[in-house]
Each structure stands twice: as structure tokens, then as C-alpha cells.
């Protein structure tokens, strides 16, 4: 029997909706899950997606992608590729797997909520593919990491990380709990699909795949590229959603996107900024994190805002300043508190690397080099105790990241708020603004410092903190190159460990 052409049935099949008789529409689509916030149900009849994907098409394409990933995976395992990778690049892959895999899994839940509660039947249909995509991404990460467990116990954190209290993981989990799992469909689509996925991770995966290929990690590069092709498709649900929200409540659209952009950017600085400007071997770096952001993220975001008649966020100048500094702050911070990591960061301040940093960031020496000078002096003098922390950094009550990690030491200042009898601190006036938009939403969360003071971490010292975070000696962070970059003889770019 001949099959109908897709266009003969597609518009009917994807637009099947219910006529309710036993329940009200509001009971079937509760406001808490939809998050329409006053946008009438009929407004969503205009929601239109550009992909026109049938399940049959989807399976065919996905099968081809899986075949491609599997073939390269098998070849790379046989070649024992991982053993020959640079330690700095290895750190990037540990960091990525530990902080990303379970976000993919959380996205399965978000997409499944779209399948059930999205206000347009077309969106609900498309959500099925998004959900299947995200299942695939989580499974790909787990399979990649499982293959490498025999080489490296840190890949255990691909699955384990989100079930620990490691502080960086808490920061990631806190954001995605909020915008993926607890936001209604509309906010989730604008904050996650449009801002995080389309604006950041879609491009991040392109850059990370490119860096991985340069570093010789063909398997990781191929996996990232395969995931990125899915992201580029399912992230598109953000645009028709924005079309509808703009017509009915443009101020809300602006607010959701501005909040999500800042919060996503802060995590992006942590996870990608450090990897691009410090972990990737200097001779393999194609562009700095700032150059990448300006070329791929900033232009793109500005264009979207302009196309939809939205304004640049009020904090745009502060964001551009943070591009010069935030990830350098996060790098020196994560390196200094390295026992609290499940990966081995590359200090990465050899003379050659330092020249590169100053070329890319002309104020780097003044803002950051002077602090590293003292660290290097301590390493050379054998005062390793002085290169390690004796207390916790103060943490932001919005991003959960250290205070001072959004800018440099010359711009650091107090952002302190009292709300219902409690003091809250913020890493910037932008994070403070986000909190003050909706304090009830954020005020109840305890960051690691709050939990420490509340007595949840025992004994109340570094050892107690590391135990509480689930960090064991086999994965605990230390310098990726055993501090060779800091020695007098470190005149040349460092080579992979023997």
C-alpha cells in the first residue's frame, strides 16, 4: 500500500487537540505547569514550528547519527585514544561529563512536560522528539563515560555528580532545577530552549567539539557534534513561543530572557571559559573565550533581541566587562580550591600561556597575574600549604558561585541585601537584581556557606566539607600538570604527560 506524502497528513496529525467534556481546560492544563500567565488558549493557535518532522523521518535520521557515533567510538576504543590525550583536555572532558549529563536527563523531564502541558498541540507533538533527543544525549554521555571508566575513575562522576553536594554541581543543579524542572512550559521554553540551548549550548558544543578535535579527542568531538545537531533542532521551540508571548506580554518575555541570559552566562563562564582559556593546550587554542563569546554568543543574542523588538538587557555594559574577567576569577578560584573539584584543573600560567592571556586580555596581568605571582612564588618555595584554602569562599545566594567571580578585584564590592531577617550576598548587582525581582523564589535556597553555618557539614573544617561533597582521594582535584607550569624551567608550552 502506498504511503501518503507527509504533507498530506502532517498538519492534521500534529495539531490534534482535545475537546474537554469531563474536566475544564484549566484542570487539564494547570496554570502552574503551563505558565500562560494570562495569555488566552486561542493565542497558541498561532504557534508554528518550522521543522515538519515526522516520527518516521526522525527515526531514520537518528539511526544514521547513532551509527556514525558508534563507528567512531569503536575505532577510538581500539586505538586507546584516551591514554594519549593532554591532561588539560582530559580535565575538560571530566568537567563536561560531570556537569552536563544529568542536565540532559533533567531536560528529558522538561521536554516530557512540554509533551503533556504545552499550550499548543503542535508544541506537544514536537516535544516528543525533544524528549527522545535528550534521552539520547544522556545515554551517549553515560556510554562515553562508561567506556573510559577503566582509564579514569572521574568518569564515574558522569552519573554520580548530581547526586553529590559538590559545590559547582550545586550551582548547575540550582539553575536547571529552577528553569527546567520548576518553571512552567512557557518560561522553560524561553529560558532553556531559546536562551540556554539555542543561545549558549548549541554554540558551546560547536566550539567544544572543535577544541576536542584539535586536541585529538575524536571520540568526544564526534559525540558533541552529534548532540549539537539535535539541540539545533529542538531548541527552536523557543522562537514560536517567543512570538506568542511578545504579542501578549512583551515585558515578561524581556524579563525571562534577561534573567536566563545572565544566569546561563555565569555557568558558561565556569564550565566553558575555564576550559577554553586554561585547560585547552595553548598551542591548540583557536580563539579566546571572550573572542568566542563576542563572535558567536553576543552577536547572536543581540540579533534575536533586535529581531523581536526587545531591548538589550540593562546590564549589557556590565556583562561585557564580565567577559574580560569572570572566567579568570572562576579559574583562579577553582584552582585554589582544587580539592573541592572532581577534575584536575590546569593552573596554566607558564610564561607562554601568560603571554597568550595578556595578548587576549590586556589587563590580565594587573587583574590576575599579580595574584598568580604569589601562588607561583609559594610553589617554587615549596610552601604548598599556602596554595590551598583554609576556609570557604563567600558564595552568591543566586548563582551559588563565589562572590568576586563575576568581575575582577578592582571592581569587587559588597552586594548585600537583608530579606525577612536574613542577609543575602550576590556576586554582582545583576544577580542581586534577579533576586529582587522575585525574592520568594530564591530566598529559601541555602548555598554551601549557609549549610556550613547551619551545622549541616561536620566536622566544620575542610575535611568535613570534602566528605560532605562526596569527594574521595581517587577523584579529588589537584594540578593537572603537577605544577610544572610554575617552575622556573617552564618556558615552553607544556606537553602531555608521559
Amino acid at each position: 500500500m502506498a504511503l501518503l506524502n507527509r504533507d498530506d497528513w502532517y498538519d492534521i496529525a500534529r495539531d490534534v487537540d482535545w475537546s474537554f467534556s469531563y474536566v475544564d481546560r484549566d484542570e487539564a492544563f494547570p496554570e502552574a505547569w503551563v505558565g500562560a500567565n494570562g495569555i488566552p488558549p486561542e493565542a497558541w493557535e498561532d504557534w508554528e514550528e518550522p521543522f515538519r518532522v515526522s516520527y518516521r523521518d526522525y527515526v531514520k535520521v537518528q539511526r544514521e547519527k547513532e551509527t556514525g557515533v558508534g563507528a567512531i567510538r569503536d575505532a577510538m576504543i581500539r586505538a586507546d585514544l584516551y591514554a594519549h590525550l593532554d591532561p588539560g583536555h582530559r580535565a575538560s572532558s571530566h568537567l563536561h561529563m560531570g556537569t552536563t549529563c544529568m542536565v540532559e536527563q533533567m531536560a528529558v523531564t522538561m521536554q516530557s512536560r512540554f509533551c503533556r502541558f504545552a499550550p499548543s498541540p503542535k508544541w506537544r507533538s514536537l516535544g516528543v522528539f525533544g524528549m527522545l533527543d535528550e534521552i539520547r544525549h544522556a545515554q551517549l554521555d553515560l556510554r562515553f563515560s562508561h567506556d573510559l571508566l577503566k582509564d579514569e575513575p572521574r568518569f564515574d562522576w558522569c552519573q554520580k555528580a548530581f547526586h553529590t553536594n559538590e559545590w559547582g554541581v550545586i550551582a548547575v543543579r540550582n539553575f536547571f532545577d529552577d528553569v527546567m524542572l520548576n518553571a512552567g512550559c512557557i518560561e522553560a521554553a524561553l529560558a532553556t530552549s531559546l536562551t540556554v540551548e539555542h543561545g549558549f549550548t548549541n554554540m558551546q558544543f560547536v566550539a567544544l567539539a572543535s577544541d576536542a578535535m584539535e586536541a585529538g579527542d575524536i571520540n568526544f568531538s564526534n559525540l558533541l557534534s552529534s548532540i549539537q545537531t539535535d539541540e539545533a533542532r529542538h531548541a527552536q521551540v523557543g522562537f514560536p513561543t517567543l512570538d506568542v508571548v511578545i504579542k501578549h506580554d512583551p515585558a515578561r518575555a524581556q524579563r525571562i530572557i534577561d534573567v536566563a541570559f545572565w544566569r546561563a552566562f555565569r555557568l558558561f563562564q565556569t564550565l566553558t571559559g575555564t576550559a577554553m582559556d586554561y585547560y585547552t593546550p595553548v598551542e591548540k587554542r583557536k580563539m579566546s573565550f571572550k573572542e568566542f563569546m563576542l563572535e558567536w554568543i553576543v552577536k547572536h543574542h543581540e540579533r534575536i533581541l533586535r529581531d523581536y523588538g526587545l531591548k538589550l538587557p540593562w546590564y549589557w555594559d556590565k556583562f561585557l566587562l564580565a567577559l574580560d574577567h569572570g572566567h579568570h576569577a572562576l579559574h583562579i578560584g577553582t584552582w585554589f580550591w582544587r580539592p573541592t573539584l572532581f577534575w584536575k584543573p590546569n593552573g596554566g600560567i607558564s610564561p607562554a600561556e601568560r603571554r597568550w592571556l595578556n595578548e587576549k586580555y590586556p589587563s590580565w596581568d594587573d587583574s590576575w597575574g599579580v595574584l598568580w605571582d604569589q601562588i607561583i612564588e609559594n610553589i617554587r618555595a615549596g610552601r604548598m600549604d599556602k596554595t590551598l584554602p583554609e576556609t570557604l569562599p563567600a558564595l552568591c545566594n543566586l548563582t551559588q558561585l563565589p562572590l568576586g567571580s563575576a568581575i575582577d578585584r578592582h571592581h569587587l564590592g559588597k552586594q548585600q541585601v537583608e530579606y525577612e531577617g536574613r542577609v543575602y550576598h550576590f556576586d554582582s548587582d545583576v544577580s542581586r537584581w534577579v533576586f529582587e525581582l522575585d525574592p520568594a523564589r530564591y530566598a529559601g535556597h541555602m548555598n554551601v556557606v549557609d549549610r556550613f553555618i547551619a551545622g549541616q557539614i561536620q566536622p566544620m573544617n575542610l575535611e568535613g566539607g570534602l566528605n560532605w561533597m562526596g569527594l574521595t582521594p581517587d577523584v579529588m582535584g589537584d594540578d593537572a600538570y603537577d605544577y610544572r607550569w610554575a617552575r622556573d624551567e617552564a618556558e615552553q608550552p607544556l606537553q602531555a604527560a608521559e
Binding site: 576569577a329 609559594n378 576556609t391 570557604l392 563565589p402
Partner: protein, 88 residues
């Protein structure tokens, strides 16, 4: 006497710290407890300085004043931000 948590930032360093002080500590003692996390770790020692001074909201506090005495003058909630800098 009671342990009391503050946020201590050493001027010139990039990150403030959680610092446990005692309500009977003088400001000079609090300055030492904040500085130990920055000076000699990321901040070089300043041989020309005459110790440290503590600031609250840009006001230099008397080095001999205790935290308890300060609390008698002005509200100081847990996790209050204090700045510490070289005294020159």
C-alpha cells in the same frame, strides 16, 4: 564570647571569605583572621604597611574595639561584609 560568622574581604584580593570570629575579638584580631586567607597566599606581604585596618561600609573601625562593642552601636547580622586593608 561567641563564635560569629562574617564575610571578610581583603582589599586587593579577588574573593571574600567566610571567616569565623569571636564577638570578643578586637578589630585588629578580626583583621588578622581575614588577612590570613589572602596575604601570603595570593596577596604579597606589604613590608611598608603598619598592620591592617577594618572597614564597615567604608568607615574605618577602631582597632581596639571589640565586635561585641560594635554590635552595641550598630546592627551586625551574621555574614556581615567587612573589608580589611593595609594600614599605611
Amino acid at each position: 564570647m561567641a563564635l560569629f560568622p562574617i564575610i571578610g574581604r581583603f582589599d586587593g584580593d579577588f574573593v571574600p571569605h567566610l571567616v569565623a570570629v569571636d564577638t570578643e575579638d578586637s578589630m585588629d584580631q578580626i583583621a588578622e583572621k581575614v588577612a590570613v586567607h589572602a596575604v601570603g597566599r595570593r596577596m604579597p606581604v606589604n613590608a611598608d604597611a603598619d598592620g591592617y585596618e577594618v572597614l564597615l561600609d567604608d568607615r574605618v573601625l577602631d582597632g581596639g574595639q571589640t565586635l561585641a562593642a560594635l554590635m552595641g552601636e550598630t546592627p551586625v547580622p551574621p555574614l556581615q561584609w567587612f573589608d580589611v586593608r593595609w594600614k599605611t
